[in-house]
Amino acid sequence: MIKIKNLHKNFGTLAVLKGIDLDISQGEVTVIMGPSGSGKSTLLRCINRLEEITSGTVIVDGQDIMDKNTNINMIRTEAGMVFQQFNLFPHKTTLENVTLGPLKVRKMSRPDAEKLGRQLLEKVGLADKANTYPDHLSGGQKQRVAIARSLALRPKAMLFDEPTSALDPELVGEVLEVMKQLGREGMTMVVVTHEMGFAREVADRVIFMDDGIIVEENTPEEIFSNPQNPRTQGFLRNIL
């Protein structure tokens, strides 16, 4: 589904990703952990080309994202992105946030788009908020709308960049619930998060990144109970 080979990313002279190799198969849930600044967000952003990669290859759903013949807007619809800061469109209602992609990118008819939009809002538990503007939603509700907005394009994979880090602790659960549900339904997911409970419950694999490289990867049970690398050990000790 997503194949990354020897990916390097520099910002000017700063090397942020220093050779990442990663293969994510269909239906797999991958959790990425690692200290702040280790390049987790950059890695996700390279997958849907919000950042231009410096060298290496990234293949999403069989298409090389750097290939001139690849329509990058279509890749972005295949790999939906959920941001830490939600980034909902404040001038649009919840339903409009969700239907914009189907209407303008998928060229769906309005009734079809709205039907899909309402289904997805229902799925994330916000059917009653269709006509509400984002400013009137709680953080947890905003993030659930953002997930519905990405799902509206029927993506083959979902990328989550610390989706619960900006939330009050009591709102984290409702967002994780939606994500767990997605994972169970077989969605391919790459999730940057430090929520160990989530990783234990739904992740097939946990990747530990530090300083622009993948330091260690393993099943959640193994990596949490028996981390091999000293940097992983140190990190896990700190977040526990």
């Binding site: 919000l50 972005r76 619809t77 939906g80 800061q85 404040p90 914009l100 303008k104 990118v105 990405s150």
Partner: protein, 206 residues
């Protein structure tokens, strides 16, 4: 008679600002475009207008340009062009500022659902930026309206000019200038009211 002048003032202001807004929106967007040539061109225009008095600009357009081009310009046209070119530079800065004040997360969210660059601008950034532009645009509209009085120097029969002509006949400077002033005030106050209304209206759907 003053009402005729007032009508002309309104006409010049509206035409000048419509063109000025188009010019300013375009220049403002060029100023933040990825193309350095466009950015520089926009910068030269904005700086040369902001760095020179509007009186000089009016004279240049009405007396200077026709000399160089070997053709005559109707004073009304010169007036509208002057207001448009002048307000355009200030509006460009307003547009640029409003666009830059929108969080980059909005663009990223738009792009990440597969919208093109243009669609993202049109559906996501522009509506939000427009809302932020209204108060400073209102200011600029009022300034431009008052600037039309400078067009007396090229002989456009707008409100100020009409005032002068009336005084030349009856010498009642106090009453006439007071009336002229009040008429400007009526126009600027109505304009602010109108903009207030738009601002409120846009706020309700948020």
């Amino acid at each position: 008679m003053l009402l005729v002048g007032m009508k002309l003032t309104i006409l010049i202001t509206i035409c000048g600002l419509v063109v000025g807004f188009a010019l300013g929106a375009l220049t403002g967007l060029l100023k933040i475009s990825r193309n350095i040539v466009f950015r520089k061109l926009a910068g030269v225009y904005i700086e040369s207008i902001r760095g020179t008095p509007i009186m000089v600009q009016v004279m240049f357009i009405y007396f200077g340009l026709p000399m160089a081009l070997g053709m005559r310009i109707h004073p009304m046209v010169a007036g509208i062009v002057a207001i448009a070119v002048n307000s355009g530079a200030y509006i460009a800065e307003i547009v640029r500022g409003a666009f830059q004040s929108i969080d980059t997360g909005q663009t990223e969210a738009g792009r990440s659902i597969g919208l093109t660059h243009f669609q993202t601008m049109y559906y996501i950034i522009w509506p939000q930026a427009l809302k932020r532009m209204i108060p400073p645009l209102g200011n600029q509209f009022i300034i431009s309206l008052k600037d039309t009085s400078l067009l007396v120097v090229v002989g456009v029969g707008e409100l100020t000019r009409t005032g002068q002509e009336i005084i030349a006949g009856n010498f009642r400077a106090f009453e006439v200038w007071l009336t002229v002033a009040l008429m400007y005030l009526v126009m600027t106050l109505s304009l602010s009211q109108l903009l207030n209304y738009f601002e409120k209206k846009m706020d309700i759907n948020k």
